[in-house]
Amino acid sequence: MIHASGLYKRYGDLVALDGVSFEIARGSVVGLLGPNGAGKSTTMKILTGTLVPDGGHATIDGRQVLPGDAESRRAVGYLPESTPLYRSMRVDGYLDFVAGMLGLGRSERKREVARVIGACRIGIHAGRSIGALSKGYRQRVGLAQALLGDPQVLILDEPTSGLDPAEVVHMRELVKELGREKTVLLSTHVLSEIEATASRVIIVAGGQLVADGNPLQLARKKSARLILLMRLGVDDMGVTDEEIGRELYDAAGVKEILDVSDLGGGVKRCAMRVERSVGSDSLQGEPVAELVAARVVKRGWHVSELSWEGLDFEAAFLELVEAHRASREAQA
C-alpha cells in the first residue's frame, strides 16, 4: 500500500533523509518513531506529495507520488503536525470546503461531511467556529478532514500532541478503530502511544532507518533479561510446584525457572527466564510464550494470565537511537 524506496532529502547542508526505504501493507497501524530532526515529518511530507525527494521515490497503492498527480494524493488523508486549520471557518463549512477540494459533488460532500462528523464525534460542535474549539476538538476536526473521501491511507503526524489524557485515550481508540480498515502511518514522540496502537514500528534517526519491526520484538531484542510470568490453574490435580517447574523448564526456550508459588484455590504463579527468540516469528512475535502456554495446556492445566516482565520499549528505542548516533560519530 505504501512503498518508500531510498528516500533522500537535503535541506541546504543538512541531510534530512538518507536512503530510507520501507513498505507498509494494507490494513495496519504503523508507528514512525524518532528523535527531533530524525526525518519523520520529512518522510510524511514526501508521502503526501507536499515535498519532492531529492532521491528515491514513494508510491501509494501502486501510484508514484508526484506533484502533478492528483490521484495518489486523493488516496491519502493527511493530518500534519500541529493540525493547521482555517480557524475563522465553521467546522461544517471547513469540512465542506475540504470535500470540495477533493472534487466531491454537492450531495457527496453532504454525505461525506456527515459521515466524518459522526466518526470523529464532533456533531455538537459542527456549527461552531474552529477557533472557538478546544485543542482536542480541533485535533478531531483535523482528523475528520483527513478522513474525507474515505482514503485508504492515513498519515498522521503527532495526532495526540498537546492533548489532555482523556483526549489522548479517545484519539488512540479512534486510530485503532481506523487501523482495522485502513493503512495508518502515525508519528509521535510518545512511545507508549506506539505500544498501544501500532503493530509495527519504524524507527528513524539522523535521516536513516534504524529499526523496523514489532514493538514487542524490538524491546525483546534489546532487553537484558526476559521474564515470562504465568498464572496457572491446576485445580485439585495434586500437582506439586516442583513438577510444574520441571514441566515449564522442558518447554522450548525456557532457560531458568525463577519462581513457582501457590496463590491458593489451585492457582500457581510462575516466573521463568526465557530466550530471546525461539522458532519462527510467525507466532505474532511471541513464540516463546506461545510454546510455553501450549505445553501446559497439553497437560490439562489452564493459563489464566500470561505477561512479560522487564520488557522496556522505551529503553530499547533509546538504545537503538544512541547506538546509531555513536556509529555515525565514529564514521565521521
Partner: protein, 249 residues
Amino acid sequence: MRGLVAILRREFASRIDSASALVVTLVFAVVAQGLFFLLGHPVGSLQLPSFWEGRTASLQVVFAWLPLLFVGFVPALTMAAWADERAAGTEELLLAWPVSGAKAVVAKFLGVWLFLGLALLITVVPLALVVASLGDLDWNVVWCGLFGAFLLGGACAAIGLFLSALFREQLAAYLASVLVLGLLWVGGLLVPSLPPEWAEFVYYASPYAHFFDSAARGILDARDLVYHGTLMTAGLTANTLLVEGRRWK
C-alpha cells in the same frame, strides 16, 4: 475544477465574513467619494476640480484617484492570502490536497478579484447615480471606466498575491505590495519631469497610459488588455512558481 471553485468560494467568503476586510472596503468607498465630492484631483499635471466645484457630470475625478487608492486598498485584500497560509501552516495541507499549485493560485486570485469588483461597484455606482440625477452622465464612459478599473485592480491583485506568497507576516506582505504598486503610480506622476527617452517608457509602464488615458475616458484599447493581461499573467506565474517551488525546498 471543483477544487478551484472551493478555494475561490472560500477566498471570497473569507473577505465577506471578515470585519477588517469590510472596514477597509468601507474606508476605500468613503475616501473615494469624499475625494470626488470635496477635493477633486489636485495632483501632478492632472488637475481636476471636485464635483461640487466643477459641476461637471463626469466621474473623471474618482477614476483619477483609483490607481492611488488601489495602492493602499488592494494590498489590504491580498496580504493575508498566502502569508496567512504559511504562518498558520495550512499551506502544507493545501499542497497535500489534490489541487495543483497553479489552480490554487488562480482560485485565490479570482476570489480577491471578484471581491475587488464588488468593492468597485459599491464605490462607483452610487456616485454615478448621484451625478446622473444632477446632470447628463455618459453611462458608457462609466461602464468603460469601471471595466478598466476592474482590469487594473486585477493586475494589482496579481502583484499583491505574489508578494503575499513571499512573506509569512501579513504586514510585511502589505508594505511590500504598497511599495511596488506605489512605484508604478509614482512613475506615472514623474513622466513630465523625466528625459524624453525615459518618459515614454515610464508612461507606457504606468497605469495612467492604460487606464486613465483610455478606459477612464471611455476608450477601450486592445493594448490596455495586453498590459493588464501581461501583469496578471506575470504575477500569477511567479506566484505559482513560488508556491510549487516549496515542494522542492
